[in-house]
């Protein structure tokens, strides 16, 4: 390790900060009547990240999820703690890579689908045979 020797307190916290929306400007010289109502800015972390221990942000590379509204270069908020369900957009481990697909679970089996007809479905015998890295909860789409 070398940087710090011995026991120490490590402050918990997530260093990823999202966008901050600026509040009403406060006029100089005269107390603003709005300031009594100011209770903090909108914090996107609070609204978009349910659990800071299990939430990661990843970046999409490729166009196979285009028709699900997820484009090349978009960022996704992924929660590892969520149970993947039928219809979830998941990050799955395929051939040693993190891959984004739609999960389909039915009596017939488990299928990973792209949202683009050019990409074939991937059939999986059972959910247990699949490593799901996390479940995407939001797409930060670039408009």
């Amino acid at each position: 390790m070398g940087v710090i020797i011995g026991p120490r307190v490590i402050k918990a916290g997530l260093s990823v900060r999202l966008v901050l929306i600026s509040p009403v400007a406060v006029a100089a010289g005269f107390p603003s009547p709005a300031q009594d109502y100011f209770d903090g800015r909108i914090d996107l972390n609070e609204h978009l990240i349910k659990d800071i221990t299990s939430t990661y942000i990843v970046r999409v590379s490729g166009d196979s999820m285009e028709q699900a509204g997820i484009s090349d270069g978009d960022e996704l908020i992924v929660n590892r703690a969520l149970e993947p369900r039928d219809g979830s957009v998941v990050v799955a481990v395929l051939d040693g890579e993190l891959t984004i697909k739609r999960l389909k679970i039915s009596a017939a089996g488990v299928v990973l689908q792209a949202a683009n007809p050019l990409y074939p479905d991937i059939n999986v015998p059972a959910l247990a045979d699949l490593t799901i890295w996390g479940v995407a909860t939001r797409c930060l789409h670039h408009v």
């Binding site: 390790m1 307190v9 997530l14 260093s15 221990t53 990843v58 166009d63 590892r80 890579e97």
Partner: protein
């Protein structure tokens, strides 16, 4: 619940740095992996596959590199940003399972837990599953009546896959426990270091079992109260309490090996300035002030000729986190630097730390720099525009920092840098 009691769980991430790397790069799964120390010097963490190749902690990378291809060995430079964030996530999560949490190091924590033996083992399994699911790294849990035994139980959980990563010491048969302690040399017990081992061996105490059976009074008289506590803890009597807050954290160290050796006092002036300012920023962030600064340098272990390791200890005029004062103090090392000698490392250490604002200095002793908030300003600018964009004097140059740490094989800082996020393939 008449048999409910409090015990201690030690939760420890398996091969922490290697596991943190694998959490974001599944292609590393199953491959031998080593994480290298500062400056890509030597292996500090090995995956089980790398251990199986016979690689030891501390093996220098220049000796491993020629065989890496043949072995399929992958190396990564230390990615402290990633490890720090993963550690914070693990600790945050552990805090949800117990009101008593002592973060012991970057990858291990003691938790106070209660319940029947079955409940405690069940909680251990729950914790293990939660850390794997939420954060993505594997942990082992050792549970016992004392910290020292919890460490041993954790070690046994790691070495015995049949336990599923969770081991409660007292749930094992006494004969099994004795056998385990008889197999481990005394140096493997928590708190017994090298020199102590030799002295114990001279008394015929070679294994942990023999230490646990030593007379505590004899151990206190011949060694120390600290070692007596270890003996009692091995017998199941808690002597080392959980420390939830280690506020008077004793010291901060900023030290690095250099990619190319430094050979002159003028180069040292710059290096020491940077460390002093890093120390200032860290102190300010934790609202601490230091009373003593030590600056040191050293030649390489691999270069036995012209050995030199100068060091100076500077008492500060008042407890401070001021970058100007700390930089000046660090520069006290400069006269001790011999021109022409190849220095491989340098560092500063600030000690005797105390919370800032405890005592107000009298007016004549008030520090003019702190008044003007230079430290926070430098820190603010560094945060906004990156380390190395501004600094005091010789630390202020972005060019010329060619001595700074070499991390040529570092993975992306996946969770702390927006331009280095993990990439998921949509293909």
């Amino acid at each position: 619940m008449s048999n409910a009691r409090q015990q201690i769980a030690l939760v420890d991430v398996n091969c922490f740095y290697a596991s943190a790397e694998r959490a974001f790069d599944p292609s590393l799964e199953g491959k031998p992996l080593v994480v290298l120390s500062n400056n890509d010097g030597c292996a500090v963490t090995r995956s089980p596959e790398a251990k199986a190749l016979g690689i030891s902690t501390g093996d220098p990378w220049f000796k491993l590199a020629p065989r890496a291809k043949e072995w399929g060995l992958v190396a990564r430079s230390s990615n402290y940003e990633l490890y720090g964030d993963i550690s914070a996530r693990v600790m945050e999560l552990l805090g949800r399972y117990s009101a008593w949490l002592e973060v012991y190091s970057i990858d291990e924590a003691f938790l106070g837990i209660k319940g029947t033996p079955e409940q405690m083992v069940g909680l251990g399994r729950t914790i293990k599953a939660a850390v794997q699911r939420n954060v993505g790294v594997p942990v082992c849990v050792g549970i016992a009546a004392t910290k020292t035994l919890a460490k041993l139980a954790n070690r046994w959980a790691k070495n015995n896959p049949a336990l599923g990563g969770v081991c409660r010491w007292e749930s094992m048969e006494p004969e099994v426990r004795d056998l385990l302690m008889a197999r481990l040399p005394v140096s493997e017990v928590w708190g017994v270091a090298g020199r102590l081992e030799k002295r114990l061996n001279a008394l015929g105490i070679c294994t942990i079992l023999e230490l646990s059976r030593a007379d505590p009074v004899m151990v206190r008289d011949r060694f120390s109260v600290v070692l007596m506590r270890t003996v009692l803890e091995l017998r199941g009597t808690p002597c080392i309490p959980l420390e939830e807050e280690r506020m008077g954290r004793d010291q901060l160290i900023f030290s690095r090996s250099f990619s190319t050796p430094l050979t002159s006092a003028s180069e040292f002036r710059q290096v020491l300035s940077v460390y002093a300012q890093q120390a200032s920023a860290r102190l300010a962030r934790h609202r601490l002030q230091a009373k003593v600064l030590t600056a040191f340098a050293g030649t390489s272990h691999y270069n036995p000729k012209d050995k030199s390791s100068p060091s100076v200890c500077v008492p500060l005029p008042m407890p401070t986190s001021d970058p100007v004062l700390l930089t000046k103090a660090a520069h006290a090392l400069l006269p001790a630097i011999q021109d022409g000698v190849n220095y491989a490392r340098a560092g500063i250490m600030v000690t005797d730390l105390r919370p800032s604002g405890n005592q107000q200095p009298l007016e004549p002793f008030a520090n003019p720099h702190e008044e003007r908030g230079i430290g926070p300003l430098v820190e603010q600018i560094s945060r906004k525009y990156g380390r190395g964009t501004i600094g005091l004097g010789f630390a202020g140059l972005k060019t010329g920092l060619d001595w700074s740490m070499k991390r040529g094989m570092r993975s992306p800082r996946y969770t702390t840098h927006w331009d280095e996020l993990p990439v998921v393939r949509a293909a």
